[in-house]
């Protein structure tokens, strides 16, 4: 689009600068990947380069040392639980704010907007004490509820801004045919909204998978910890075994890398939609 405003000869220095920054972004991750397949003995001689001998055994070693069968399942449970619960409440609310416009819905919108900007540190301690009272500490259900609430405002606005563009005629026609509001929601709004459901689901899932502060605070029993906080304690436990550490980190990155390759546009547009406002 803007190609015309750079002359041809300028393209090379442009690429040069961009490549430098691309390397700054990618090389550290590449080093992590090299380290994950490097034999432990090679670290002293070759700290940054690719391994001379590929050792895939690091992965099963880390998997066993970190009891990752359990931990992976913990994280998966949190991700799926949060995505389902958060999507459910956000779809309902997004639909209502987009198409039903209840009286006073601006109050809800403002409440959720303020909710986004509240720093977690304001409420984390009372929430912790409340969760203790309700025996929700060290439970996945407790953390799923928290994650759903944390991500719900974002998801609601994302879904709302999508549903608001759905043609009103469809809804009017269904209404004339005698469908009630719930039927309209399930039969018309939901099937038409699958792109935004997918985007929102991916973003919520990513946020939950990577989340650290709440996982650190609300799950102290190692049996229930998710990947993020396990990796943190793993780093302390195997402080100098970089092969093991890196393999554990790569196991946390791999699912994200695969999903990112499949759904790049969705991730990028979803994650920046909050920054680009309604």
């Amino acid at each position: 689009m803007l190609v015309s405003n750079f002359r041809r000869k300028e393209a090379i220095p442009n690429h040069f600068i961009l490549i430098l920054f691309a390397l700054l972004a990618v090389l550290p991750i590449l080093v992590l990947f090299f380290n994950s397949i490097k034999p432990f003995s090679e670290f002293g001689l070759n700290p940054l380069g690719p391994p001379s001998e590929i050792r895939l055994q690091n992965f099963p070693d880390a998997w066993i040392a970190g009891e990752y069968t359990k931990i992976f399942f913990n994280s998966a449970k949190l991700v799926f639980g949060s995505v389902l619960l958060c999507l459910a409440v956000s779809l309902l609310a997004g639909f209502s704010l987009a198409k039903l416009n209840p009286k006073g819905s601006t109050v809800i919108a403002i409440y959720l907007l303020v909710g986004i900007s509240i720093p977690a540190q304001l409420y984390i301690l009372p929430l912790f004490l409340l969760w203790k009272e309700l025996s929700l500490l060290n439970t996945h259900v407790g953390l799923i509820i928290i994650y759903s609430a944390l991500n719900a405002p974002f998801a609601t606005f994302l879904i709302r801004s999508y549903m608001i563009r759905l043609p009103d005629e469809l809804f009017d026609a269904a209404k004339l045919d005698g469908a009630n509001t719930f039927q309209i929601f399930f039969r018309i709004a939901l099937p038409l909204s699958w792109p935004v459901i997918l985007t929102a689901g991916l973003i919520i899932g990513l946020a939950v998978w990577n989340e650290f502060l709440f996982a650190l605070t609300f799950i102290t029993d190692p049996n229930f910890k998710p990947m993020a906080t396990i990796l943190f304690s793993f780093q302390a436990r195997f402080e100098n075994n970089y092969a093991l550490q890196s393999a554990a980190a790569i196991m946390m990155v791999a699912p994200i890398a695969v999903l990112f390759m499949l759904f790049q546009r969705r991730f990028i547009s979803g994650l920046t939609s909050g920054g680009l406002k309604e």
């Binding site: 900007s117 304001l122 929430l127 409340l130 780093q235 990112f260």
Partner: protein, 291 residues
């Protein structure tokens, strides 16, 4: 359109779940925190009302003041370094036909990774014996001989660097979206006038993306308040409070020392500051700034 000319209460059924869960997790605990900041509660036993004593104590607290200063530094760093780099890269990207998607993905990918992973990467790279330090030593250059995370003078900047490294790609994408909305005719006109690349950036691109640009500054200011992960994982606020930030300070008081009242006071101040910033930007918009 109104789907519910008759029974508008049904619309509320749809909103209740999200409001309920949000109030339960965020709304009510926030209000509790705003109330507890006036007490000296320790999480157990009697709750005593102490008025503004926590705040008076806070303004006298050397470490708290240090933490605030570090948060201000953090905000300034993020408002300058990643913003400048991202503006430059986004601007350069608009002039490139081939490989645009590759650059975009490369810049953005670190933003997708967990803080724990990013911290581990840089802890290794900044390790004096392994990582870059070891590499430099092997080629005979003495650099990074001690980890910047454990050096008093650099710990804060090192943590900010890692957080910024993971964050700036996000800004590139935002700015790029804005830059693609700029009318190409403006650039063509400038080309005829013989404007330089920098002049075009300064007098066309920057003014045209101002709404997105200002918005990104607001996000950075707000997001610099609860900064926690990178400091907690990389330095723990140390050594000797040299990288202490407000969120980490609060965390220590809340979950190590169980000073509920004191921690709530810190949280309340953070909240007031964020609302103040949002208010200022809202006011600027009302005054006719295109934000």
């Amino acid at each position: 359109m109104n789907l519910l000319s008759k029974k508008s209460y049904i619309a509320w059924y749809f909103v209740i779940p999200v409001v309920f869960i949000h109030l339960f997790v965020i709304g009510i605990p926030s209000i509790l925190s705003l109330a507890l900041c006036l007490t000296d509660w320790s999480g157990l036993g009697k709750i005593n009302y102490v008025g503004f004593e926590n705040f008076i104590e806070l303004f006298d607290d050397r470490y708290f003041k240090k933490a605030i200063f570090h948060n201000i530094l953090w905000t300034i760093i993020f408002l300058t370094v990643p913003v400048c780099i991202a503006l430059m890269c986004a601007y350069l990207l608009t002039g490139i036909k081939r490989g645009q998607m590759f650059y975009r993905l490369a810049f953005f990918f670190p933003y997708m990774l967990a803080s724990v992973v990013n911290c581990q990467i840089w802890k290794y790279l900044f390790h004096p014996i392994h990582g870059l330090g070891g590499f430099f030593e092997s080629i005979g250059i003495e650099a990074l001989a001690s980890s910047p995370f454990t050096t008093k003078e650099t710990s804060l900047y090192a943590a900010a660097f890692v957080d910024g490294w993971h964050f700036w790609g996000f800004l590139v994408v935002i700015y790029l979206t804005g830059m693609y909305q700029v009318d190409n005719h403006l650039y063509e006109a400038a080309d005829i006038e013989g404007a330089s690349k920098f002049q075009k950036f300064r007098y066309i691109t920057l003014p045209m993306i101002r709404p997105i640009f200002i918005f990104s500054l607001m996000i950075i200011i707000i997001w610099s308040v609860p900064v926690f992960d990178y400091v907690y994982i990389l330095t723990g606020g140390g050594p000797a409070y040299s990288s202490e930030v407000v969120a980490n300070y609060l965390y220590t008081h809340a979950f190590v020392r169980f000073n509920v009242g004191y921690a709530s006071a810190v949280g309340t101040l953070m909240f007031i500051y964020v609302i103040f910033i949002v208010g200022i930007f809202g006011l600027l918009r009302k005054l006719g700034w295109e934000i």
